[in-house]
């Protein structure tokens, strides 16, 4: 098969070559005393001879998940970890529970989990705890006691991301306009947080920005497009679109253009994730700003584990700072986007 774009435009996102994650809240800090090997009561372990399990939550079918899983695999290879088990829950909570249980059964000695949901993994985590297997949760925090049910959380703060997006939106519209929100899938914590962060911030600081529509686009490009088409038809006078992930934003762009609007001029688009395609649109001036949510958890996860086994104390929350792509830096940084 010969692809239309043999240069695989936007294809190489998966590589771990891109931008490393940067820790915002340094060790200790607000996150309390932190967690040590003794405190957690886990046996000592050398990663080179260890079996590590990684439980992915959603299909590797969008740039974020692809990059996330890939960076875990790459880093494991780099460190020469004896065996990395990888499972994928295909967005089914029950499957993630069994995935984790299965990996424990296969002798996983440490676990990195990208939780599908903040609640509901109890049985799996209890099983790990019973076997004193340390569990790092990445990219989504779970509602449980750190250093007890799980070791620590590495990731972004979704509410914060929403807030940042809101600030950008305010800047783009200089404080005045009608905004439509393309929600993620219903019942998903990410959706809830990114909406909360955005809405609260707008209400607090931009009284003249009116949120005229909130409709779900299920984090998917085509749904983003069709929903956007409906919204424009109903409210031709919207001036801003906040998409809770890049895919929906890209769909929205298509809808806006086919409706004869000029994204970047008539309508300002702000979205979250920082995929290469979206950042490219920032460069092209169609998207005003993209809040990054960095998926490359491999290096940070394994560093944290190494430190942990080296006896260092691990803070409960290792929050990574989310980069912001605007027309100022996008052109320079698009190469490192995923």
């Amino acid at each position: 098969a010969r692809s239309e774009d043999s240069d695989t435009g936007g294809g190489t996102g998966a590589g771990s070559g891109g931008g490393e994650q940067v820790v915002a809240t340094p060790s200790g800090g607000a996150a309390g005393p932190g967690c040590t090997l003794e405190a957690y009561g886990a046996p000592k372990l050398d990663l080179k001879t260890a079996v590590i399990g990684f439980s992915q939550s959603e299909k590797e079918a969008n740039p974020f998940r692809i990059a996330e899983t890939q960076s875990m695999r790459d880093e494991a290879a780099k460190l020469g970890v004896k065996k990395l088990l990888v499972t994928n829950a295909n967005s089914q909570l029950s499957k993630q529970i069994s995935d984790i249980q299965d990996m424990i059964n296969q002798g996983a000695q440490a676990l990195v989990v990208a939780p599908l949901n903040s609640d509901g993994l109890e049985p799996a985590l209890n099983a790990a705890k019973a076997k004193k297997i340390p569990v790092l949760t990445i990219d989504r925090k779970i509602n449980a006691k750190a250093c007890d049910t799980y070791l620590a959380f590495l990731g972004s703060n979704f509410v914060e991301q929403g807030k940042q997006a809101a600030q950008q939106m305010a800047k783009a519209l200089d404080g005045k306009g009608k905004v439509a929100i393309l929600l993620g899938s219903s019942g998903n914590n990410v959706t809830t947080d990114r909406t909360k962060g955005f809405v609260d911030e707008i209400e607090a600081n931009s009284p003249d920005i009116e949120i005229v529509a909130q409709q779900t686009g299920d984090f998917a490009r085509d749904k983003g497009q069709s929903v956007m088409e409906q919204i424009i038809a109903a409210q031709p006078d919207i001036t801003g679109v906040y998409a809770e992930n890049d895919e929906m934003a890209l769909g929205a762009l298509v809808a806006l253009k086919s409706a004869g609007k000029k994204p970047g001029e008539d309508v300002q688009v702000v979205s979250i994730d920082g995929t290469r395609n979206a950042v490219q649109k920032v460069v092209d001036g169609e998207i005003y700003a993209v809040v990054e949510s960095n998926p490359r958890f491999g290096p940070l996860s394994f560093k944290t584990l190494t430190d942990f086994y080296a006896g260092t104390s691990i803070p409960a929350d290792v929050i990574i700072s989310d980069k912001l792509y605007t027309k100022d830096n996008a052109a320079a940084e698009v190469g490192s986007a995923y």
């Binding site: 490009r221 497009q225 109903a234």
Partner: protein, 322 residues
């Protein structure tokens, strides 16, 4: 007295029959009227066009589904087939639009062939036979493009996705054309009549010497090809190939369209106009709910209610047994 009794009962029967055959048209009319009167900016050309454009791929899929259901089967794999077509398209556009389209359609046909053989030859129950492809197909599509979402740069295709003729988008013309074609196929051709007979009484049809297997296989192949067409349309509209989300849950929309359109799932009947109307009804419901910015929760409940009402209006009131 005794005079009036029968007349009234006959009238009621007549009304019921009219409702049964035209319930969906009525529902569409009502919803359309409601929106034209109460929904802001609904009665605009651009908006009405949007509705048609969005419903086009659903109609195309539903046409194939209607034929499959006519054979007392069902094709759950259409959504995944759309994804496979969408995935293959950009991979072969390098050789030109024709190559890309042909490959995509061929893939659709192949998927249909698999379903058709499972159902017609191995005699596996349609739901399960096609469920396999529903589960595996999308995975395959994603594997084909290793998870990437590829932008479409082929101008012909993009043109097709956006251009209009006589003020009506090409994709809408295509859907209309296919609807007419399938309508004729079912009503006028040998194949069409055999299809309906097989759906009604398979064993009798077999004993009457009809080529049951061939008809079944052809039907599923057609469904697969139509799904592929829909996949191409959706891709062209999106200006990108996104196998992970294109065609998601289309099987349900299509089945709903067909059934709401008055084709019984028990086979032996294919109603094309009804199917098209069914698809339009669903589209209108969705549009109405979004435009009034109802939350997802209410939206889903309302949708459920309307579907039940529409089907209830046209239920077969059989005299009893036999």
């Amino acid at each position: 007295m005794t005079e009036t009794v029968p007349r009234r009962s006959v009238d009621r029967a007549a009304t019921r029959r009219w409702l049964r055959d035209n319930g969906v048209h009525l529902a569409v009319a009502v919803l359309l009227l409601y929106n034209l009167l109460f929904t802001a900016n609904f009665a605009t050309v651009s908006n009405l066009t949007t509705q048609l454009v969005q419903v086009a791929p659903v109609i195309i899929v539903a046409l194939g589904m209607a034929m499959v259901i006519g054979t007392e089967g069902v094709d759950l794999s259409v959504g995944s087939v759309m994804a496979i077509a969408a995935a293959l398209l950009p991979l072969y556009l390098g050789y030109g639009i024709v190559a890309g389209v042909v490959v995509a359609l061929a893939a659709g046909a192949a998927c249909g062939l698999l379903n058709g053989v499972l159902v017609g030859v191995v005699r596996i129950q349609p739901i399960v036979a096609t469920l396999a492809l529903l589960v595996g197909g999308r995975g395959l599509a994603i594997v084909l493009v290793d998870g990437q979402i590829k932008d479409i740069r082929n101008d012909t295709l993009l043109e097709f996705g956006s251009a209009k003729a006589l003020g009506i988008p090409l994709v809408v013309w295509l859907a209309a054309l296919l609807a007419v074609a399938v309508g004729l196929l079912v009503r006028r051709t040998t194949y069409g009549r055999q299809l309906v007979a097989i759906g009604d009484n398979r064993s009798a049809s077999a004993l009457a010497g009809l080529p049951v297997r061939r008809v079944l296989i052809v039907t599923y192949v057609l469904s697969g090809v139509l799904a592929a067409v829909a996949g191409i349309v959706a891709t062209a509209r999106l200006t990108a190939s996104d196998p992970s989300s294109i065609g998601n849950l289309y099987e349900l929309s299509a089945i709903t369209a067909v059934v709401v359109g008055g084709t019984a799932l028990t086979g032996g009947r294919v109603r094309i106009l009804g199917t098209v109307m069914g698809a339009l009804l669903i589209q209108l419901i969705r549009a109405t709910l979004i435009k009034n910015d109802l939350p997802d929760s209410i939206a889903q409940i309302v949708q459920a209610a309307i579907i039940v009402l529409a089907v209830y209006a046209q239920r077969e009131r059989r005299a009893g047994a036999s």
